[in-house]
Amino acid sequence: MRIALFATCIVDAMYPSTARATVSILERLGHEVIFPAGQACCGQMHVNSGYFKEALPVVANHVKAFEADEYDVAVAPSGSCVASVKHQHPMVARRCGDAGLEARAAAVGGKTYELSQLLVDVLGVTDAAAQLGSYFPHRITYHPSCHGMRLLRLGDRQLDLLRSVGGIELAELPEAEQCCGFGGTFSMKNADVSSAMLADKTANICGTGADLCAGGDASCLMHIGGGLSRQSSGVTTMHFAEILASTLENPAAVTGDVRLTTGRTAR
């Protein structure tokens, strides 16, 4: 299968190791990964902040970039960005009166999958240790991000994949389905409420005794990880793609409270 990777802006710029792990997983399964060069961002920060006019060129760019190449499916390591591509892009085009873009956006959205959706529903991955060689000997907990859970209905796909990783120990996160308080610009506009939500989330995470909290959205993980770092908790966050990509020979390292990614790791 020829798979177009939508890295998402935050992963591209801040967490390149998550995108590289995604490439590594898909290539291990024997698929060809392409990276449409025109891609940038899904535009949900603009949409969710009410800046529809400013969102339109971002949405139009995404549609154009993912029309430019031939591929079977597109994938992104983010529930939130995929939900935006699928649900928000046609709405933004409609609201800005561009019926042509609306139809094109719906077509791109129809071919776009969140990573665990693609792995489980399309590529038939049920046992990460056996099918991907995944090995990660750490005690972890897992936060299901809101948009993956409620807009894409991912259910336990990410969690089930993590459970099947060799050597892993999974601690259940109390009140897992409560939002971490990120919410894009909400974290700045309503910083006090956002921080109060984060404090409850990080307390629950630390209470599990896990070394790190895994999740499927780099933005939520940056938020949770930023809080854990500020509290000097010693607990970190990691995208589930990196845990799936980790093997006995090339283990993903857990590196303290704010995880540092250099983008210069082996493929």
Binding site: A40, N48, S49, A196, M197, V258, T265
Partner: protein
């Protein structure tokens, strides 16, 4: 703006009354977050109701179908509201009731006061009602020399304490029983000075107090949960029976109801009587459901009035994206699952309608350009828990985003200087609208690494970004973006091919 009356009012007519923030939400929220009693009570109460709701909802195999039916019925009501209102009016009138049409809160208050005066009364008993809170009826009546006594236990507590409800279903959720005892001792006439904080003793004191009022009042004022167009019937759904007392004992009954409460027919109650109790109190059925159809000679109230209230509802109905907010049946399920509401409580929203539904309904009723209400649509992380809990499937997150868009658009070109948010969004729109632009921006990542310093984290940012760093660090950016790495990998075909099976290697900590 002219102070002179110039004839027909301009359209749309927006709502007035207790629908406004008193201060921007973030400011009110900050104060309420500091109230540890409130946080503890709310956390406990919302968690309890949340769990009860989940339990009774999961017993119904057709819950999702019921939600869909509720949504569809409400959507059809909104699509033919004028016709259904006229049908209701004809049936209600034919059975001896009198209909009054109120364009806004001021008209409704005036109608109710004059109906009370017609009976020569100077006090009324009240059934818990959101609509009369919305229009500020109690305060208006007080100005007119008419005392209004709330008879719902929690409303009574709040009223005696000269406070405001903080939850539409559990109005005194922010008070504990010792606080309630203190309020009773201070404010309740003839109360036993030895009153303890035992719930049974508190309930008995309230009961004795309320019985005196029920038996002496000539006029009752109520709201309504539903109105059935095909028969002209009104319905009130409650738990305590105090509503039933109000609805049956006084000679005159005046009901104030928003026009959106209409249902086409009796059989529609089948759907809503399954949805409402389960969603609100987490019960299979509420203890008291009262239905009345006009006047029954020599039985119950002999003067039956209904004030049909618009107060911004027509304006909300005109908003294609927002109109489904009018489907709301005031169950409060959205509040009980909302992580923002759970932490700030209802007072932070200012309006009679707090929580997720309040954050859309209040600005829809008053108009988003009402400056006092333009921070409400931002009072959400868009987690979506409210949409999942809503028994009539109001897509609250989508309407929040829609109203944010209306707010941003309404301010374009009107500000003397663009805000930091405006500038940031504009810059980001450029950076994120092509791969080339984003690639250019990513060339600056090493600068971020320098800013992060030896601790490899950014702990303090200026301006609006300071909101982030008040409780969160930002990691040092990577030395190269994914895009840069990909380009290097794929432009040099002579380079040793990657194995394609190895995982990312150990992280480097330069």
């Amino acid at each position: 703006m002219s102070g002179t009356f110039l004839g027909m009012p301009s359209l749309p007519v927006f709502g007035i009354g207790n629908l406004h923030e008193h201060e921007p939400f973030p400011k009110a929220a900050r104060r309420e977050l500091g109230n540890t009693q409130l946080r503890a009570n709310l956390g406990h109460a919302t968690r309890t109701i949340r769990d009860k709701r989940l339990a009774v909802v999961s017993e119904l195999p057709d819950w999702e179908e019921l939600r869909e039916a509720g949504r569809a019925i409400k959507e059809s009501v909104m699509a033919r509201l004028p016709e259904l209102l006229e049908e209701f009016e004809a049936n209600f009138t034919a059975r001896g009731g009198t209909i009054h049409w109120a364009r806004d809160a001021g008209e409704a208050n005036g109608i109710v006061a004059s109906l009370i005066r017609d009976q020569g009364a100077d006090e009324v008993v009240k059934v818990k009602s959101m609509a009369t809170q919305e229009i500020g009826l109690n305060e208006y009546l007080e100005e007119q020399g008419i005392a209004a006594f709330e008879t719902d236990l929690a409303e009574l507590i709040v009223q005696l304490d000269h406070d405001k409800p903080s939850h539409i279903l559990v109005p005194a959720i922010h008070k504990n029983r010792s606080q309630v005892r203190d309020i009773f001792l201070r404010e309740m006439e003839g109360v036993d000075p030895e009153l303890t904080n035992e719930p049974a003793r508190l309930a008995a004191a309230a009961r004795a107090h309320l019985r005196r009022k029920f038996l002496s009042a000539k006029v009752a004022v109520s709201g309504a949960n539903f109105a059935l167009a095909d028969s002209g019937t009104l319905a009130v759904v409650e738990s305590e029976g105090n509503g039933r007392m109000c609805l049956t004992l006084p000679e005159t009954l005046i009901t104030v109801m928003g026009v959106e409460k209409l249902l086409p027919a009796w059989e529609d109650l089948e759907v809503f009587m399954q949805l409402l109790p389960r969603s609100s109190t987490g019960e299979r059925m509420n203890p008291y459901t009262s239905l009345w159809t006009g006047v029954t000679p020599d039985d119950g109230p002999q003067n039956v009035h209904l004030v049909l209230l618009d107060n911004g509802r027509s304006a909300a109905l005109a908003d294609e994206m927002g109109r489904s907010a009018l489907h709301c049946i005031r169950c409060s399920a959205c509040m009980n699952v909302c992580p923002v509401y759970e932490r700030t409580g209802g007072h932070a929203y200012g309006s009679t309608y707090p929580g997720p539904i309040g954050a859309i309904l209040s600005p829809l009723l008053t108009g988003i350009t009402a400056e006092e209400n333009n921070s409400l649509p931002y009072a959400s992380s868009l987690c979506g828990a409210c949409y999942d809990a809503c028994p009539v499937k109001i897509n609250i997150p989508d309407i929040l985003v829609h109203l944010r868009g209306e707010d941003v658009d309404s301010k374009r070109g009107k500000k003397r200087l663009p805000s930091q948010m405006d500038l940031g969004m504009k810059a980001a729109s450029w950076a994120l609208s092509s791969g080339k632009n984003l690639g250019l921006v990513e060339k600056a990542l090493p600068l971020g690494r320098i800013a992060a310093g030896p601790d490899k984290k950014i702990t303090k940012l200026p301006g609006i970004a300071a909101g982030w760093t008040q409780s969160r660090d930002i990691p040092a950016p990577p030395s190269q973006s994914f895009r840069q790495w990909w380009d290097k990998e794929h432009q040099a075909p002579a380079a040793p091919a990657a194995s394609g099976t190895a995982a990312p290697g150990p992280k480097e900590n330069p």
